[in-house]
């Protein structure tokens, strides 16, 4: 009975309850632990990271494969030698740059500290900070010098502007007879020793490369009787200026020049190249005078100036009173005189400017002397003027020639147009005749020329 029963339902019975029945395959599969793919699979699964058996492929690489963030286990410092060297060089460069710029700033500051009192004494406005009236106790206690004397590296921004790490400039205005004063300090490129070395090397072999030097160049622009143009309208002080507009003086070129630089100077500057060089017995033997007239020299070479020049010593490059352009004029507009006074000095390496102060002061005050008495006899000025007139005449001539050339070209163009138009209107036979006639005319003209020449 049971067997029948069993037979009857036998096929369905295992499917009805598979688990309790003894289907071993199925039961085994369910109970077995997850098969670990690590030994076979080359792709590391999450599980394989935990075990040390994560070296399926690699017996060749000795680098242990660790967690991604454990960089220190895979690399050591010795892997970064190149970067270390680069970083080291970078640090050296930065250090040199910082040292160079800061020492340049220090030098510039030392210069302005030495010269600011002089500038403040002479000018109403010094530097770029706008106009400030000094209070009386400030003057009394020398407050300016005090603020400058602090040891900080901070530049006195109001007084001195850093154009580049090697160039500093200052500006002053507000003085009788002087429109304004520009001062430029050029220092060595201490922050770039390679450039410096290259410049020195090049200066040894090529004359066109000057050896790098530290130098202060000041350009003073006198009013020269044009106050009304320079200080327009209702600016404070304009009225006072207009009252007394006799600040003009005669134009000429005169210079005291260090002999070491005189050859170069005469080549570079047009204004001094129209003068003649003459030594003066009162000057030290390293300096000479470039002048247009000996009378001007006698007037300008005061004992005070000689003393200042002697005190500055060979650091002085040149002091030039001029009314001519630096570049050779090539157009008529460029010959219009513009008066300026130049001062150029090399900076002492010691940073002690006391010996240079007298000449700087004299340079600023020179305009007063000029305005007061630089009005020469007509005989002296005639000589000075001839040189200028010659240049003007030469340029005028060149200008006229150019214009004549242009007109000539224009005329020829019109002529040709006319001829072309005429030729166009004719038929072939007439054209031929026209051309023949033209040829004949030309030949005749050529013959005439030849006979004339003969």
């Amino acid at each position: 009975m049971a067997a029948i029963f069993n037979n009857l339902f036998g096929g369905s019975k295992p499917s009805a309850s598979p688990v309790p029945a003894g289907d071993s395959d199925f039961a085994d599969f369910a109970g077995a632990p997850d098969p670990s793919p690590t030994p076979i699979s080359a792709i590391p699964t999450a599980a394989s990271f935990t075990g040390a058996g994560a070296l399926p492929t690699g017996s060749s690489s000795a680098v242990p494969f660790t967690k991604w963030y454990n960089v220190h286990e895979r690399y050591s410092l010795s892997d970064f030698k190149q970067e270390g060297v680069i970083l080291g060089i970078l640090l050296v460069i930065i250090a040199i740059h910082l040292y160079g710029t800061s020492s340049n700033r220090k030098r510039a500051k030392a210069w302005i500290t030495a010269h600011a009192p002089t500038l403040h004494n002479e000018f109403a406005l010094v530097g770029f900070g706008g106009r400030k009236l000094p209070t009386e106790d400030e003057i009394a206690s020398g407050g300016l010098a005090e603020t400058l004397a602090t040891d900080s590296l901070q530049l006195p921004v109001d007084l001195l502007k850093e154009k580049s790490p090697q160039e500093f400039s200052t500006y002053a205005t507000g003085r009788l007879n002087v429109a304004f004063l520009d001062v430029n300090l050029t220092l060595l490129k201490r922050y770039s020793p390679l450039t410096l070395a290259f410049e020195y090397g090049a200066s040894l072999f090529f004359d066109s490369f000057p050896a790098p030097v530290e130098r202060v160049e000041a350009i003073l622009y006198p009013f020269d009787g044009r106050e009304a143009l320079t200080v327009p309208g209702q600016l404070p002080g304009a009225h006072e200026l207009r009252k007394d507009t006799k600040s003009s003086y005669d134009g000429f070129v005169w210079a005291i020049v260090n002999k070491e630089t005189m050859k170069q100077l005469r080549g570079e500057r047009y204004d001094v190249s129209i003068t003649s060089t003459k030594d003066h017995p009162k000057l030290p033997n390293w300096a000479t005078i470039m002048s247009e007239s000996s009378e001007i020299t006698e007037f300008l070479l005061t004992p005070e100036l000689i003393k200042a020049v002697e005190s500055a010593g060979e650091l002085l490059d040149h002091i030039i009173v001029t009314d001519q352009p630096i570049d050779q004029p090539s157009k008529l507009d460029e010959t219009i005189p513009k008066k300026r006074i130049y001062l150029s000095m090399r900076l002492p390496s010691s940073g002690d400017y006391t010996s240079l102060l007298p000449i700087f002061q004299y340079f600023i005050r020179l305009t007063d002397t000029l305005v007061q008495s630089a009005h020469f006899r007509p005989e002296v000025l005639r000589k000075v003027r001839t040189t200028r007139d010659d240049t003007i005449r030469r340029l005028q001539k060149a200008d006229d020639e150019e214009k004549a050339e242009e007109i000539k070209l224009e005329r020829e163009k019109v002529k040709k147009q006319k001829r072309d138009a005429e030729l166009k209107g004719l038929n072939a036979k007439a054209q031929k005749k026209y051309l023949e006639k033209e040829k004949e005319k030309e030949m005749k003209r050529a013959q005439k020329k030849q006979t004339q020449r003969g």
């Binding site: 072999f205 100077l265 080549g267 060089t277 352009p325 050779q328």
Partner: protein, 191 residues
Amino acid sequence: MVSPQITNLVIILGMMQVSKKIPLEDPNTLNLVRAGYLLSNLIIIAVYAYTHLIINKKKDMTTLKYVEQPQMGSTEEPKPITTTVHKYDVDQMKSLYKSQLMGIGMMGVMHLYFKYTNPLLIQSIIPLKSAFEGNEVKIHLFGKAAVGELRRPFKAAAGFMSALQGGAAPTQDKKSIEAAEKAGRGGSKEE
């Protein structure tokens, strides 16, 4: 006194014969000749450096004016030069250094690149000789007075090449200096 050019020519011809006799294929001999060349250049440099030192010590700041004549065929006007004796001497020394370096450079190319060995001998004698015949060395090292031939500005040694170039000697007469000085040639822009 025979002119240096003739003696140079004699030396060159003589040395050409001598160098035929010297076994330059032998590496030892070759090294000796090379050492001789280097030694001669060292002597020249030393002589120049010493002369330069004397010039700087003297520092003769006398003004020197002359007019440089343009080269034949050029349309340029004569150029006035105003300088000092010291500066002139220093410039002369600089050009001497330059020409010596040029000589060494040429020799270097000839010897190291083209493997010529013969010029080594001649080149260690002729420059040495002309170094001692140079005007600056004569004046400062041998203490000759700067008159006549040695008067500054020096005339270019009259030779075959200078005759071809035809550069006139710098003049120093007062009239031409004055005329050229006031001409206002400075500051012209180079084209």
